[in-house]
Symmetry: C2
Subunit: 341 residues, 2 copies
């Protein structure tokens, strides 16, 4: 069993994008706002959007199950207000639920939250609860910068976020720290904003006592942890200079990295410096990079291939990375699987 | 001959900090503004500030010359206005010049620029010209985010910056892309803001035609290039998906990385994926991380040791990294050395 903990629904039918476009137009001219039920996507259209993409790639690459969430770049929390985000998140999460129902062996859901810049994250609790309790989702994506590149909300370690964390702990669901599109021209979204957010979140955690307050709260930092494993010595040294505990004790009960690193030397570094207990297999397909690497003849994002090729990681550690850790990090995973039979 | 291309004057006498404090107080109450000549630092005080720090570490580690600039975290371009930055930059650069005059075999200068958020970088040209022509400096530090963490100025690839680039090309000096302190609580300065800026700048270059407009313009991206080498496959793939040239042709005549990566696996990755022609030795001592790594018994930032220990990089490539590339990237380096005799 190989579980990919990081997949987004990046291949939705065009009508979803059309609805979103009308929703955005409606912000200026409310008469253009689409009714929620004006969006109709058939089960066949959902199947068609997946069969030639995520499902085909799962089969081709030998992965079994994807922890699946709405397109991250499409969350667009900076657009409109909390009501805009509530409607849009509800729609996107519902599509993920339908997909998980159509393909229970292939997908398990993680939700988008209806965040909005300057709005207390308490407003996300009902949607999180709904997705977990009604849809059987096992986690959420948490955007550390709902402003889309201006970073105007408090750090993830601020009490601002605590009510949401309390609910996450109660529901036993982790969050993947994941920004959305950037509306700041300085930041290319998949090339800079995503990676920067990963690095930023880790350093916020490093300098705080968040996990003293929430010993069971768990975060997955995607894209291989941003810059963190490459600068592991820097982070060990910074923690030490600040008189904090070693990273392992300080953070590694609560913080996990995925394997969305698109070349073998990067994956090797990750596996060398981060304990296997803290690494979760992921590819983010179909995602940021879609091409074939001329140096290998394979897709850049076929990350399983890099891990398979490494012979100095034990079978037991690979087992943890491919599925064992998922059971530990996503508290509701086992029950969700049992429910699927 | 071993040249460290990245050192800041982080050990200045306390009176410098005191002057800056009064300068900042003067922004609210001009009667408190210090006169420029109220700051008096003797040659002996300069010597004392260096002998037990940078000079001692140069000797201990077997490095010869440091390309030396004012403390990056102290540039504080977000504080006050252009006049504030002009006075402060002038003072900081003058200290570097005095240090290079006292220790011509140990230091060669790079200047801080009097940037200010929202102010056209044209205002930096006189100070750059002064430092290069009068002080014999060989480069500058360019802050891609003078706002200190809110990223409100245009990307480095915007025509906003072109007058400064024209002057850099004319003077034949490169810029190290280096932010300063962060006033955004989301970003720890050395743990997030620095690394994010490195990653951001690289992606800006990747998506632009800046180097078609300035074929001889050169940038050093410090801190091992931020997240870039770790995600080299991602960046190769993003360029490819966008139909751009391969990274080598697209960027590597103009963009260089330093070796400020504070553990051996990180340095190994850098040397594996980035051509030796594009790597410049650096340690940033005395800098972001000052402790001793308990895993090695040596300073985290003793980066020479990591490179020395790698046996699969040829002597010719190490020679390039330790000094050869400096001659190529810093067009005025050879003349500056010749002037020292």
């Amino acid at each position: 069993m190989i579980v990919d903990c990081h997949g987004h629904y990046t291949t939705a039918p065009k009508s979803l994008e059309g609805f979103r476009k009308r929703q955005i137009e409606g912000l200026k001219d409310p008469s253009l706002s689409p009714a929620k039920d004006s969006l109709r996507i058939s089960d066949d259209a959902l199947r068609e959007s997946l069969e030639g993409a995520q499902l085909k790639l799962q089969r081709a690459r030998g992965t079994d199950l994807t922890i699946f969430s709405p397109r991250a770049g499409g969350m667009g929390h900076h657009i409109g207000n909390a009501a805009t985000s509530a409607l849009w998140s509800g729609i996107c999460n519902e599509l993920i639920h339908r997909i998980c129902t159509l393909y229970p062996k292939n997908f398990v859901g993680v939700c988008q939250l209806p965040q909005s810049p300057g709005v207390r994250p308490d407003n996300c609790i009902p949607e999180l609860e709904r997705c977990v309790k009604e849809y059987g989702f096992i986690g959420c994506n948490l955007n550390p910068d709902p402003s889309g590149g201006y970073w105007t909300d408090p750090p993830l370690t601020d009490k601002w976020w605590y009510p949401l964390y309390e609910k996450m702990v109660e529901l036993d669901v982790p969050a993947m720290v994941h920004v959305s599109a950037s509306c700041n021209p300085n930041f290319h979204f998949t090339g800079a904003h995503y990676i920067n957010a990963d690095t930023t979140a880790f350093m916020q955690f490093l300098t705080s006592d968040l996990f003293k307050d929430f010993p069971t709260l768990k975060f997955i930092i995607p894209h291989g942890g941003g810059a963190v494993p490459y600068h592991w010595g820097r982070y060990r040294g910074l923690a030490q200079d600040m008189g904090r505990l070693p990273l392992k004790e300080l953070l590694l009960n609560n913080v996990f990295f995925d394997t969305c690193v698109y070349h073998r030397p990067g994956i090797e570094l990750l596996l060398k410096v981060v304990p296997a207990d803290n690494i979760l297999f992921a590819s983010e397909m179909v995602g940021a990079v879609r091409g074939i690497d001329p140096e290998t003849g394979h897709h850049y994002d076929d990350t399983k291939r890099y891990i398979d090729a490494i012979d100095w990681v034990s079978a037991a550690d690979k087992e943890k990375i491919f599925q064992g850790n998922v059971r530990r990090v996503y508290g509701r995973y086992a029950a969700a699987m049992a429910a699927r039979g």
